[in-house]
C-alpha cells in the first residue's frame, strides 16, 4: 500500500517538476492557490452566470452537430404528425429532428435554453449585488463596464439564439426587430436591408444569425469573461464590513483547497439544476409554433424574459398621433421611443452610474469594503427605481396573460401600466430613500442605546426604566464603520479680488448633484457621541451589584440629567450616586 502511494506521489511530483522546469508554473500555482476570497453567498451569484455559460458552451456544441442553419425549403417527413408534409426551412426541420429523433437532442435543446435564461437571470442578480453594495467604486469602475457589456452580449446571444429555429414565434420577434431598425431615422431602412440582405425576411438571416450566435458573440463573451475574472484577481475581491476588515486587506479563505472545492462543487450544482429543468420542464416548444410564415401571429407572442421589457415598452406606447409624416418621410415615434429611446436611457444610466456617483461624490480613493445598501440611500433608491421601471415594463409585456389569468380588462391594464411606468420609479425612489434613512436612524439608535431587553426595572423612588443591552463589538462595528458622506463644498464664485473664478459654473452643477446625493443623510455615530452616551451611563451608575448600570444610562441618559440637576425630594431613598455631578 505504502509503496504504491509513494509511486503515485513520485509520479505526481515528477510530472509537476517536469512542467515547472519548462513553464515556471509553480510560482503561479503557489500564488493563486493562496489567493484569499471572502465568504458570502452573494459572491457566488456571478459564478452561477459563469457556470451557466459553461453549460451553454457544452450543450451548444452538441446542438451545432445537428442543426442546419439554412433557409432552404424542405418538406418535413418525421414522427411529429402535425407537421407531416408541411413545407418548412431546413433550420426548422433540423430543430424538429433534434427534438424528436436525435437521441438526447430535446434534453440538450432544453438545457441549452434554460441555461440561456439562467445566464441572463444570474447576470442581472449579480449586477444587483454589485450595484447595491457599491462594489463598482474605484478601482472597479472598468470592471463594471466589462460586466455591463457582458450583459449586453448576453442579450445578443439570447436573441440570436432563439431566432435560429425559424419558428413563427421567433420570426415575430425578428419582424419586430426589423420594425425597430427601420424606425431609426435616415439610416433605418438601409440597415434593415443590410441585416436581412434585402426585404424581410429574405433568405440570409438564419445563416447570419448562426454565425453571430456560435462564433462572434461567444468569442466576445469568453474574452470578456477572461478580462472580468482577471480584474477580480487583480483588484482582489471586495468584502462586507466587519471587524478586522479594512480597505487594505481581504478577509476570507484561500482559493485552495476551500474555494476550489466550493466553486467546483457549485458548478455541478448549477449543471444539476439546469439538467433537472431541461429534463422536466418544456421550454420553447417550437413544434407548437410551426415553421415561420410572415402572415400569422398567435396570441401570447412574447420574447424570452430578458427581452420582455422591450415588448412591454412597445405595448405601452400609444400608437395614435405618434407616427409623423414629414416631407415624405415617416418618423415612427411610436416605435422609436419605446424600442430605442427608453431602453437607451435605462441602459446608459446603468452603465454610467459608477462615473456619475464618483463625480458627484468627489471621492478618488479606492474602496474594497462594501457598503450596506442603507448607507448609500440615493444609490439604493436609484437602483430600485431602475428595477421598478424594468419590472413594470416586463409586466406590461405580459399584459395579455395578466388579463386572462386574473380576469382583467387588457385595456385597463395598459392604461394603468402607462401611469405606473411614469410614476412608480419616482415613488420607489422616494420610498427606498426614506426606508434607507430610517434604517440608518435605527442603527444609530441601536448603537447609542443598545437593544431593548423588555426588562423593566422599578427604582425605589418609583421611577421605571427599561433595561437596554449594549451592542457587542461586532454588532457595533458594522453599524459605525462607514464614513459620513456630505455634499461637496465649493469655492466661492469670485476670488478675494472679486474676479470670477474659472470653472465655477461646473462646480456649481457638481455641488447640486452632490447635494442630491448627500443632503439628506444620517451621520454615523462618532466615537465622541458613543463616549458621551456611555458617560451618561457612568453619571447614572447604580451601586455595584446592579448589573443594569451601563444600560440604564444608555437608555435614558438625557432624561436623567434633568432629574439629577434638580433637587431630589427624598435623597436618602434614591440609589443614584449622582453626587459627583454637582
Amino acid at each position: 500500500m505504502s509503496t504504491s502511494t509513494t509511486a503515485a506521489q513520485r509520479a505526481a511530483g515528477g510530472t509537476a517538476d517536469y512542467l515547472d522546469q519548462r513553464t515556471g508554473i509553480s510560482l503561479a500555482v503557489k500564488n493563486f492557490a493562496r489567493k484569499i476570497f471572502p465568504d458570502h453567498w452573494s459572491f457566488l451569484l456571478g459564478e452561477i452566470a459563469l457556470y451557466s455559460f459553461v453549460v451553454l458552451l457544452i450543450t451548444g456544441v452538441f446542438l451545432t452537430l445537428f442543426f442546419v442553419p439554412s433557409m432552404g425549403l424542405v418538406e418535413y417527413e418525421g414522427p411529429f404528425a402535425p407537421m407531416n408534409g408541411v413545407e418548412m426551412s431546413e433550420a426548422f426541420a433540423s430543430t424538429l429532428d433534434l427534438s424528436f429523433e436525435v437521441t438526447g437532442g430535446l434534453l440538450m435543446r432544453q438545457i441549452h435554453h434554460w441555461a440561456a435564461l439562467l445566464f441572463m437571470a444570474s447576470i442581472v442578480t449579480h449586477m444587483m449585488r454589485v450595484f447595491f453594495t457599491g462594489a463598482f467604486r474605484k478601482p472597479r469602475e472598468v470592471n463594471w463596464l466589462v460586466g455591463f457589456i457582458l450583459m449586453i452580449l448576453g442579450l445578443a446571444a439570447g436573441f440570436t439564439g432563439y431566432s435560429l429555429p425559424d419558428d413563427v414565434l421567433s420570426g415575430n420577434g425578428l419582424r419586430i426587430t426589423d420594425g425597430v431598425v427601420k424606425s431609426i431615422p435616415i439610416v433605418g431602412s438601409y440597415m434593415s436591408y443590410f441585416i436581412f440582405g434585402g426585404e424581410f425576411p429574405g433568405e440570409h438571416i438564419i445563416p447570419r444569425l448562426f454565425t453571430v450566435h456560435i462564433l462572434l458573440v461567444p468569442a466576445l463573451i469568453l474574452a470578456l469573461i477572461g478580462l472580468h475574472l482577471f480584474f477580480v484577481v487583480l483588484h482582489k475581491h471586495t468584502h462586507f464590513p466587519g471587524p478586522g476588515r479594512t480597505e487594505r486587506n481581504v478577509v476570507g479563505f484561500p482559493l485552495f483547497p476551500v474555494y476550489v472545492a466550493k466553486a467546483g462543487g457549485f458548478f455541478f450544482v448549477v449543471f444539476g439544476v439546469l439538467a433537472l429543468m431541461g429534463g422536466t420542464m418544456t421550454i420553447n416548444a417550437v413544434w407548437n409554433y410551426g415553421p415561420y410564415d410572415p402572415s400569422p401571429v398567435s396570441a401570447g407572442a412574447q420574447p424570452d424574459w430578458y427581452m420582455l421589457f422591450l415588448e412591454g415598452s412597445l405595448r405601452l406606447m400609444p400608437g395614435q398621433g405618434t407616427e409623423w409624416d414629414l416631407w415624405g418621410y415617416t418618423l415612427s415615434l411610436n416605435v422609436l421611443i419605446p424600442a430605442v429611446v427608453i431602453p437607451g436611457i435605462l441602459f446608459t444610466l446603468l452603465a454610467a452610474y459608477p462615473f456619475i456617483e464618483a463625480w458627484a461624490t468627489g471621492d478618488k480613493r479606492e474602496h474594497h469594503v462594501l457598503d450596506r445598501p442603507r448607507n448609500a440611500p440615493v444609490r439604493t433608491a436609484t437602483g430600485v427605481a431602475i428595477l421598478t421601471a424594468f419590472f413594470i415594463l416586463i409586466l406590461a409585456g405580459s399584459n395579455d396573460l395578466i388579463a386572462t389569468h386574473f380576469a382583467l380588462s387588457i385595456n385597463d391594464i395598459t392604461y394603468v401600466f402607462r401611469v405606473l411606468f411614469l410614476v412608480t420609479p419616482f415613488l420607489a425612489f422616494w420610498a427606498t430613500k426614506r426606508i434607507c434613512l430610517g434604517l440608518q436612524r435605527k442603527d444609530r439608535e441601536l448603537v447609542l442605546h443598545g437593544h431593548e431587553t423588555g426588562r423593566v426595572v422599578r427604582f425605589a423612588n418609583g421611577e421605571y426604566i427599561e433595561v437596554h443591552k449594549p451592542l457587542d463589538e461586532y454588532e457595533r462595528w458594522i453599524r459605525v464603520h462607514h464614513e459620513p458622506r456630505r455634499p461637496l463644498e465649493i469655492e466661492p464664485a469670485e476670488d478675494e479680488h472679486g474676479v470670477r473664478r474659472k470653472g465655477y459654473r461646473m462646480d456649481a452643477i457638481r455641488a447640486r448633484a452632490s447635494r442630491f446625493f448627500y443632503e439628506d443623510r444620517v451621520e454615523p455615530v462618532t466615537p465622541a457621541e458613543l463616549a458621551a452616551a456611555h458617560s451618561h451611563g457612568e453619571h447614572d451608575a447604580l451601586p455595584a451589584g446592579e448589573p443594569e448600570t451601563q444600560e440604564i444610562g444608555a437608555g435614558s441618559g438625557g432624561g436623567r440629567h434633568a432629574v439629577t440637576g434638580a433637587p431630589l425630594p427624598d435623597e436618602g431613598d434614591t440609589p443614584r450616586p449622582s453626587v459627583q455631578d454637582h
Partner: protein, 259 residues
Amino acid sequence: MKAIAARRNHRFAPVVLLLLALLVTGGVYAALMPSPAVAAAADQSDIEGGKALFRANCATCHGPSAEGREGVPSLVGVGAASVDFQVSTGRMPMQQNGPQAAAKPPQFDEEQISQLAAYVASLGPGPAIPPQEQVDPAGGDAANGMALFRTNCAMCHGSIGKGGALSEGKYAPSLAGSTPTQIYEAMVTGPQSMPVFNDANLSPDEKQDIIAFLEEQKAGSPGGTDLGAIGPVAEGLWVWVVGIGLLIGCAVWIGAKSS
C-alpha cells in the same frame, strides 16, 4: 408520539403543520369536489320538454318565445348546434353579467340539453348538431389542421389553443377541455366574440382537420411539463422561481460557513 410532542416548539413545526393542513384541505376538497355530470345516451328529443325547460330557465332573459330583447340575442334561427354548445359548456344559463359568459360545469344533463336544442331548432332553421363521424379527429389531417389553425384561430386562441386575451376583459378561452363536437359547433355558430366560420370559409373537412390538430395537443408536451403552454413569460417566471431560487438557496448553503 412523545418524539412529536418534544419537537412541537421546533422552528419548522409551523411549516410542517401548515403543509399538513394544506394536504388535508386539498384531500377533503378532492374527495367532495362536485364531479361533472356524466352524459347519458341521447334520447329522441322532445320539443315540448325543451319548451318547458326553456320557460323555466331561459325565458327570463331571452323572452317567453325566445325573441330576445335589448342586449339579449333572439334565439330564433340560431339552431341546435348553438344551444348544444352554449348549454353543454355551461355558458348558458349565464351565471352573472360580465364581459362574456364564462364556461362552468353544465347545469343540464345530456337529455335535457337535447330537448332544449330540439325546441330552439323548432323555432327556425339553423346549424344542426354535427354527427359523430363529422367531428371524429381520426378522420382529419392534423398537419393541414395545424396550418389552418395558425391562420384562422391562433391569433386569439394562442398557438395550440391555450387561450388568449381580447379587448375589455373578453377572452378567447382555452380549447384544452373542449370536446370535438363543441369545437365544431363553435366554428359554425361563432359564440360571443368569435366569428362564424361557415362552410365557405372552412369546409367541413377542414374543420375536422382543425379538430384533429387540437386532439394531437392532448398528448401533452414531449419536453416534460408544459408550464401552461403559454410561451416565454411562463418560462421566464420559472427560471427565476426554480432556477435562481434553487441556486440562491444552494449559494446560501455553500456560503453559510461565513468567517
